[in-house]
Symmetry: D2
Subunit: 358 residues, 4 copies
């Protein structure tokens, strides 16, 4: 297994950045689920580059073509397959990367793993472009989960060290509607500072990273399996499949490890006749299984490794150090575009868990 | 799938805390690997409770009995199965937990998921005791990896907010021998403070958590598969199978998301004719694939949810709030005992990745 | 993966014939299913040797010990693990087999695959004894399926060329009650001839094989997935996991390939307001998916390879031919004992398919 | 899982007969394997309809477009994806099949399984057309195996009851070159009789079935895993994924079950210093593991269910019987076209087993 995820749902992602097409195959979706193609395109647009000042100017249409699995607007039970043609590719920009790997990218590891046969152009199969197929699959799952009352929203909680407002104290009753649609933050002033920091990084031929907080509401109690099949494991496996993700924690997570048990334990209570917890440090998961509270996790995104600044690399063939200047225009920050990808990945994990429940 | 992990290696963990036995089945291990049973017992002893003042006084022998897969001290190619008999169990202590779930435990989620049929005694299949079988499997993998020059060591980097020394700057050349064997820290003074904090928590009928740093050296370049089969995904899936884990990051991880690309990128260099990186913010993984540098990750362990302090819970049957006092003696901190479990889980993930390499 | 089967249900079988124990782990069973231990023991007794004249006199108790997953007579949601201790083993009988492989056994292939580290005693992990754990898992599944109205019965349709009566013409309305409990045939006269043939083979220090027909009634429409997840694929994977199975067909199977479409197609009809087919040449499966008719398949069992007659083998170490005389007493026919194993395997496959249905 | 196969190799097949495209995704192929596209097209041509008198006149180009995984004629390590556009589809022919299912097809079972949302046109995802993607994947695997000296060839051993010559006595030294390329039989006279039988069936508006024998030579010893991971299980799972397959046996298979052990056991011998067997009743597999002898199996193909003769079906909506006449032209025999599909499926199973070997 490699570019395949899931247990009852089987997602396969394929394609290379500069190959003929990228795409995904999603096997295991029940028949009869409606597909709102406009909503999907709007979701995909959130990830697309060139939408605004803070991302790469390379324009991609990124309209998916569905080859299988959907008939007359409904899933037909067969695997769903969609592709996106690659256009406007400029392979020449990447020719030298095969010998001179970019720091922070998979160029070097792919070169060794695939004995030099890897598709180096644009990062090949390791390109961030491969998150578009994840968004197709996840965008569909998001629609279906939404119909069951399960909502998934993410926002930038930190970017270049600038902090957004929290969604809600202890995430017991998060108000997801507070997340803005133009730039995925709650506090517009923080959002403006983040954009400024991105521009500053661009001007400095550098890049910045950040942290995305994702909240899922409306989950039933009992989702997930014990041990390695727990929701944390399921979510982690797919979230770490997103390029540039280097950290993930649930609920109080790393900061919770500084607390005492009496602080970090969520007391049980009854709200409107329903079992609930007073706080939600557990992030909605106990023993790997959802407890009906909002599922909350944070994802650390490293600063974009593609920077225009000269960097120290090597010539693999000559076994010596060599300066590298990456040409072309690159995103100084992928965090805003990664927000829908995190939502998509979460949707796939939750959809799989839903289908696994007896 | 639930209590099963792995791709080429298949680990199944079974048993409930107060059932007849716990154990594990490990399928896919090549034949002819030697087993050093003394070394394994010493490794298991690191996880065992009752070893010293800072853990629970309930004594367990925890000697595994191997039922299959090992003949005359060597693996025979058939699945390896080992069990540990449960002794000294006191199910009566847990009888009321079925109706009155402990905060921070899986009692409530298991109750809903299994319609009241779950084995509630001692947390059943969700008990931390189930980490013993993980240590059997991981202890064996650790031996075999060690013979290939791959070393796995972890230490407590934070406990109750007290910080240990880092293993090495940027983890380029970590000196794992600096980790002490009596208490897994580098700085003995910090270790003493941590022990004091545990004692203090015990006296306060409370508990504390912490962070474990794990370092793996000697890995080949090219381990891991792209996307969802990357080393981060593989390690995350098993690490999150350890009870009480709520966070995980790799290399610079969460703190790296505050840096700029020019800081966080690891420049390539040549050391002794070998391709290396100047720093190791990537934690040894690029594009999900090992780059030959030390693989480094941090695991956040929440404070033990079992505390003696009175807590607010509910009566599930009566639908009303109810105070809960957990009887018996409990670990005020599981972090020290979790250190070998993290090493074991890492060893299993790496062993699986090694077997998956073509 | 090797000794592991299933998708939603995960069966692992472990142990070697002369090791400390054999057993199985069954992960994915819902909580709250009742277990009738007496019924299970009666089912296991059908497979046990030494029950009557036509099988090996080596007595085994084969009483399983349940280590996990069952509490107070009900499944608790955790993996179910059971073991059977090996007793009365006589490893010395098999010492020379490591160098001089038995024709028709896995001795030679295991020797090469495992570089001589295989557990050769009694066939090790390849022994027919490993079908006992399959019967534990399958016996449980059979109970649970029975409660849903799904009945699984098999009989010997051919043994040493002697043919039993068919269960029912075209298997549209099979009367499974006609299968006798003392010897699993319908026609007692045929059964007596089969027993005589077994005795004759024993006297000739030889062995005989046969064909087992298995019929499953009460299945819902819609079980199975398309293509490689079809019921034929699912059943085939587990049935071929039974040692000595060399053939399998469904419905009219091989003989149906001699018919014309107009003969082999099952016309649809309405019986008591329910969609049915007039005949059942399809054996209850269309496109890999159950159609509500009885699921029927045949399993070819080769004659027991263990015979007392002198046979031509080789010395692996000396690279020369060598006569082999297998000592000890051996079953001249395993077909009668394989009948419950086939039922058990079918039950596991159907249970998995049931759990996979959305 | 459904339309997905394999362990180390992951094959996903997607598409419906009359949807935009069909295709396959093959994940897990090592980098650096050369692809001979001409050879692949020639292999696919063997499966294509309309090639000659004995198959359907509907012409399909069936040229695959590779979207990913191959760069400059070599695999690049990323998943390989190829699609075939559907052309010349006539969905109107199938409109009424949604209510009036064709006997012997998946129309009825798909209707129930997918609640009427299935893509009924042309059999949708259950169409024999889906074997084209299997041939793309298998054709590639066949090339790569061939470079390792592993040859896979199949011929029609029985068609409409007419028998071809056997490849070789006991398959110890099969001469695969004797299989003719124009019509896959050894004996041209038998081949002519088979073609006549197909024409006769066509004239009778009926269809015929047959048996395909497949032989694999050059396999190493030790391929396959014990129990459910044995070569028989692996091959069976994929072979039963081919529509119309209803039977499969290995080596002497069903006929071997009529023999005595002394006849069916293959005596070991030394040939040119290499361990071999005198006969090959085992079909090259002992204990699920290859023994280095030719791997031989037979596949029973049912007579094409699509016949022009009036048949008895039902109206699902009206719950009453109804005569059905299937319009359009249909293959009176798919056996010749199934020969390369069987080879392709075998190649995929063997390739996966090769990649799984440590």
């Amino acid at each position: 297994m490699s570019s395949t995820y899931g247990e009852k749902l089987k997602l396969s992602v394929f394609g290379q950045s500069h190959g003929p097409a990228i795409g995904m195959n999603l096997d295991g979706i029940p028949a009869g689920l409606p597909v709102d193609m406009d909503e999907l395109l709007m979701f995909l647009a959130r990830r697309a580059p060139g939408q605004n000042a803070y991302s790469t100017p390379r324009r991609e249409k990124d309209h998916p073509e569905f080859l299988a699995g959907i008939v007359n607007g409904y899933t037909c039970g067969a695997p769903i397959t969609a592709i996106i043609r690659n256009e406007n590719t400029r392979s020449a920009d990447y020719e030298n990367l095969k010998d001179c790997p970019r720091p922070g990218h998979a160029d070097y590891t792919a070169h060794i793993k695939y004995n030099g046969y890897q598709d180096a152009a644009g990062g090949g199969h390791f390109s961030g472009r491969l998150t578009a197929p994840i968004c197709i699959a996840g965008g569909l799952c998001k629609q279906w989960l939404s119909q069951k009352g399960i909502k998934i929203s993410a926002h930038i909680s930190v970017l270049a060290g600038i902090t957004d407002d929290p969604v809600a104290l202890d995430w017991v009753n998060p108000d997801l509607s507070k997340i803005r649609s133009d730039f995925p933050v709650i506090n517009p002033a923080a959002g403006q500072k983040m954009r400024d920091a991105i521009e500053q990084a661009r001007n400095d031929t550098d890049s910045v990273g950040g942290i995305i907080e994702c909240i899922i509401t409306g989950l039933p109690v009992g989702l997930g399996e014990p041990m390695f099949g727990g929701m944390e494991s399921k979510i982690a496996q797919i979230i770490y499949g997103i390029p540039a993700v280097k950290g993930l924690d649930f609920g109080s997570g790393f900061s919770g490890s500084y607390l005492r048990g009496s602080q970090n334990n969520d007391a049980f209570t009854i709200v409107d006749g329903k079992i609930s917890t007073v706080t939600n440090y557990a992030g909605g998961i106990l023993g790997g299984i959802t407890n009906g509270m909002p599922l909350v996790f944070n994802v650390a995104i490293k600063p974009t490794p593609s920077i225009s600044k000269p960097q120290q690399s090597i010539s693999i063939s000559q076994g010596m150090e060599q300066e590298l200047v990456i040409k072309g225009r690159h995103d100084p920050c992928i965090v805003p575009r990664a927000v829908p990808v995190v939502e998509a990945a979460a949707a796939i994990a939750v959809m799989d868990a839903m289908l696994c429940m007896n």
